[in-house]
Subunit: 212 residues, 3 copies
Amino acid sequence: MEKLHALYTFLDLAGTFVFAISGAVAAKQRGLDMFGICAIAFTVACGGGIIRDLCIGAIPPAGFTNWRYLVAAIISTGMTIGLYPLVQRLNHPVIFFDALGLSLFAVTGAQKTLAYGHNSEVAVLLGITTAVGGGVMRDILLNRVPIILEKEIYASAALVGALIVVAGNYFKWFSSDWVSIIALIVCFVLRLLALRYRWNLPVYSNDKTGSN
Amino acid sequence: MEKLHALYTFLDLAGTFVFAISGAVAAKQRGLDMFGICAIAFTVACGGGIIRDLCIGAIPPAGFTNWRYLVAAIISTGMTIGLYPLVQRLNHPVIFFDALGLSLFAVTGAQKTLAYGHNSEVAVLLGITTAVGGGVMRDILLNRVPIILEKEIYASAALVGALIVVAGNYFKWFSSDWVSIIALIVCFVLRLLALRYRWNLPVYSNDKTGSN
Amino acid sequence: MEKLHALYTFLDLAGTFVFAISGAVAAKQRGLDMFGICAIAFTVACGGGIIRDLCIGAIPPAGFTNWRYLVAAIISTGMTIGLYPLVQRLNHPVIFFDALGLSLFAVTGAQKTLAYGHNSEVAVLLGITTAVGGGVMRDILLNRVPIILEKEIYASAALVGALIVVAGNYFKWFSSDWVSIIALIVCFVLRLLALRYRWNLPVYSNDKTGSN
């Protein structure tokens, strides 16, 4: 239990940090000011978790009460502004950090929902929400169609991660820690493979209804 | 009571289903992938209800806990993808389904808020929110000004429906079931008439302030 | 306590009213119909407070339960439509009303969060959220990048106001009333000075990474 808690805290903070960096990079590329960058970083980092906490009745949401989240958002804003050449040198930094945060949040979101005693369906849906909520908010604030609705397998990877968490906890194949780690790796690898090989879910465009 | 509950459940599921179809059609027309279509369908179907449940303290929101909503969203996604020529043959499918869902949700939203013991004002406002919330979310996600703010009498019809529910429950003219049915029909007919005859609320444009 | 409560109620209603006017003006300039103007006015006026109330567990949110908020929104809609030449004669009405509402809401938001027994960090973050939440919702609904992320010191002023409230309540320099008044004046003056002298937070654009 102690170990699970430590793992959970670590995953949650790591996810917060990488999501904050992805938000800060997107906001910086859009030319927002320092506060705007920090606000978008915080939104991406905590937005999904705040929606999850509102829905499971964890009031006030952890994103607001726990100073570590705010510090993670501020540090990643500072890093993105101060060490941008470094951040830039990583290939496609936004997308890479995004994939890592996605996996981390899908797993922790589903785990926390189960820990609050809700059923499997809620855990899967709120796992996805935790994972993609912040990114969707970022895209809404930056006034564009959310990337998750148009691009390669993204929320589907979060769905797979959350499903593994729920199935693992249901069938008790492994300890809860191992379930989390497996779900995390599967989701992350799936997302990276989707990016690498440009896997997309089928699109059903209007013009070609006949040919599909 | 039993009968009310059955009616309530039926109206809620029917509203979910038609709203999901309206969302799926809009997402398909925008060229989103399968997951994007399903996500928009689920958002339109459950978005307003989830906001309502958060505001009245029904935690976790019914949209997440009840597998029937998710199934309704998935089925309508499948229908919209697989049977699109059929869906298309209906004249202006999005707008028609939208009007039906609007009426159903305004009524069930106001009824549920009253059932949770909140006052009439909350019931009216959350009736409207349940009715238009999902559609507003759809338009925000698809990056356009919400249709309800620009087009023919829409949220106003939901307002009328919710007002009838609240007044009917307050003055006890009829049984609660009949109040729901009357409110539903009035709201639906009002919306269809507004579409047919292009009824609009007055617009106060800037340039013509003097002439209004 | 009585006096604090009266002051709190007054500030809250005044903030609601000026925010509603700012929302109504923006919606009118966009050519929305009467319902759309009223909806945007209500959203700007109560949106931030509703998010705050959901996050601190004040269910149902005050914006829905208290008829005075709705009346304030309706009156300001009427004023903006009927007395537009008057509203227009005020220089830059949207921005001026916005600054006043911003200060009022940052202070009342932080005070209410503290009154519900949450910690300082939650109070600061929800003070900012109360202040800018409605405006951000307005910009999302009108389909533009939120003004607060691009323009002169805005949310930063709310941050300063909320910080003064929290610090004042923590160190007990003055009575809570005086703390509110001081925070309000500092935030308002800071915002007006930022507008007057075009103070901006530093922007870190991509192209000039080397020169920054």
